[in-house]
């Protein structure tokens, strides 16, 4: 009797052991599959390290200290035209550029929401060229603005607002679904930057030192409708409101880029909006005397974007306004921040030197 009971107990124990073993094996299998897929995803997603480096800009912000006085949001007219180093060195203003290629206004708005999760700057500067777009444009640009964002409600909303008809939300959650065919074009950088990305900006500024004078810049073609769209205005309203609620001064700017063409009808709408909402609006296209920008030496691509010389002149002019008119404080006396900037300036100078050498060679 006793022996029978013992063998039943042993049998049950064996059964449980087998069951546990099976569960363990299934768990290990699942973990291995998921890890493989994760590694595959890491390998296949674009690294934006040597080509199309602009795709790295948005993600770089998260590695920074979050104590900025000024945060820029907008398209290439912010990340190629302003140098935070000059704002720091000449005025003691700590700034960061959350710019990305063809950043649409809803993306700028959600990037602002995202930024407010980490810090509350005194000033937010938005470049108004993006007002020309009222609906999603191109997936490639969407991905460069959105993929680098950390997951949050702001990112979810940004994706939903940005997706073109052919895009799927799930492709943003699992980028491998979108990039699985990239295996054919993998390069050494895909392995090199499998987990860590190469730093490509200086507080969000994308440096270029080469020179290409602005010549034959075309006038704008006739448009069917010069009125900015309702959706664009809606996000500008939201941005204005969000800044107001957080006691942040919103400044609208139009960078001095000569192309794409900035129409008089657009200018009027922005001037009216700024006046109605009591916002400071700076159109640097009309401030050439103050900025000192010379389009024969200060642009690297014929007037679309500033080169280093142009960006530094423009930043010096902006810094003056931020200090004298907006009243931002000079923080160069803060030891810790100054030390951080010293490191940044060394990296900035090294990049500058590298580019000058490359251009001369």
């Amino acid at each position: 009797m006793m022996q029978a009971s013992l063998s039943i107990i042993n049998f049950r124990k064996d059964e449980e052991k087998v069951k546990r073993k099976k569960i363990m094996k299934a768990a290990v299998t699942a973990a291995l599959v998921l890890t493989s897929l994760f590694l595959l995803q890491c390998l296949l997603v674009p690294k934006y390290a040597t080509d199309v480096v602009e795709g790295s800009l948005i993600a770089e912000y998260y590695q920074e200290e979050k104590d900025h006085d000024v945060v820029f949001i907008g398209d290439c007219e912010v990340y190629e035209n302003f140098s935070p180093r000059v704002l720091w060195e000449e005025y003691g203003i700590n700034s960061y550029i959350r710019g990305s290629a063809q950043q649409l206004i809803w993306q700028s708005y959600y990037l602002l929401e995202d930024t407010l999760r980490y810090e509350k700057p005194e000033v937010v500067i938005f470049n108004v060229l993006a007002m020309q777009y009222d609906r999603p444009q191109k997936e490639a640009y969407n991905r460069m603005s959105l993929e680098g964002m950390k997951w949050s409600g702001a990112k979810v909303k940004a994706i939903r607002a940005s997706m073109t008809e052919r895009e799927e939300f799930l492709d943003y959650v699992f980028p491998i679904l979108r990039y699985h065919s990239r295996w054919e074009e993998l390069k050494s950088e895909d392995v090199q930057y499998l987990f860590d990305r190469k730093k490509v900006s200086h507080n969000g500024y994308y440096m270029r030192v080469d020179v290409k004078p602005a010549e034959n810049v075309p006038e704008g073609n006739i448009l069917a409708d010069y009125q900015f769209g309702e959706n664009a205005y809606d996000y500008l309203d939201r941005m204005t409101r969000l800044c107001r609620e957080n006691d942040i001064q919103l400044i609208l700017i139009k960078a001095p880029s000569l192309y794409p063409f900035w129409y008089e009808e657009w200018e009027q709408q922005i001037e009216d909006y700024a006046e109605k909402n009591d916002l400071l609006y700076l159109n640097f296209l009309e401030m050439t005397e103050e900025t000192g920008i010379d389009f024969s030496t200060d642009t690297y691509d014929g007037g679309l974007h500033m080169n280093l010389s142009g960006a530094e002149k423009l930043s010096a002019c902006l810094g003056r306004i931020l200090q004298e008119d907006v009243g931002l404080k000079d923080r160069r006396g803060e030891k810790e921040l100054s030390e951080k900037w010293q490191e940044k300036i060394i990296a900035y100078e090294a990049e500058k030197e590298r580019q000058y050498k490359e251009n001369m060679g």
């Binding site: 595959l40 290629a101 065919s181 192309y259």
Partner: protein, 199 residues
Amino acid sequence: MRTKAKMMLLTAILTAALLGCGQDAKVIEGEVKNASDEAKENPEAEDTQDAADAETEKESEEAAEYKGYAFIYQDVVIEMDADAAPIVEKLGEANSYFEAPSCAFEGIDKMYTYGSFELDTYPMENKDYVSAVIFKDDAIATPEGVGVGDTAEKMTEIYGEGTLENGMTVYEKDGMKLCFILQEESIVSIEYRSTVLDE
């Protein structure tokens, strides 16, 4: 051992499924054709007008052979998404040239202005393709005989009812668009556009 085999099989299936499933890619098909001329240069002279009409008719017939709407300028056929190099060569030196590197992407969008029209190109795999032809004045017309300054009625008579897109009247054909901007029933702008870069 069996578990390992299962695991490897599962990974292989998932990987194959991911790598193998359909992927949409941008396809360039340089098959959109153009045609135009300077038929409207001397509208007063009846003979010239007749000749121009005949020429327009001929070009219109020629254009019908092309895929999409084509623009012809001095016998040079300009098709949307066509290889730009031979077209630019045939057109000769442009009055003005401007190039705009696209934000973030490699390659340069180019704009050639030839007096009465602008020819735009986009880069793709080391080649430039025609992205647009934009009329700059009323000295030229489409091969079908419509130019800037003509009436909306004439446009509808020739091209039929177009669709309204962003304030423009658009005629889409074979993957390209012929766009008209109207002001008070008069044509103020005509553009041939590729749709390749739309998405």
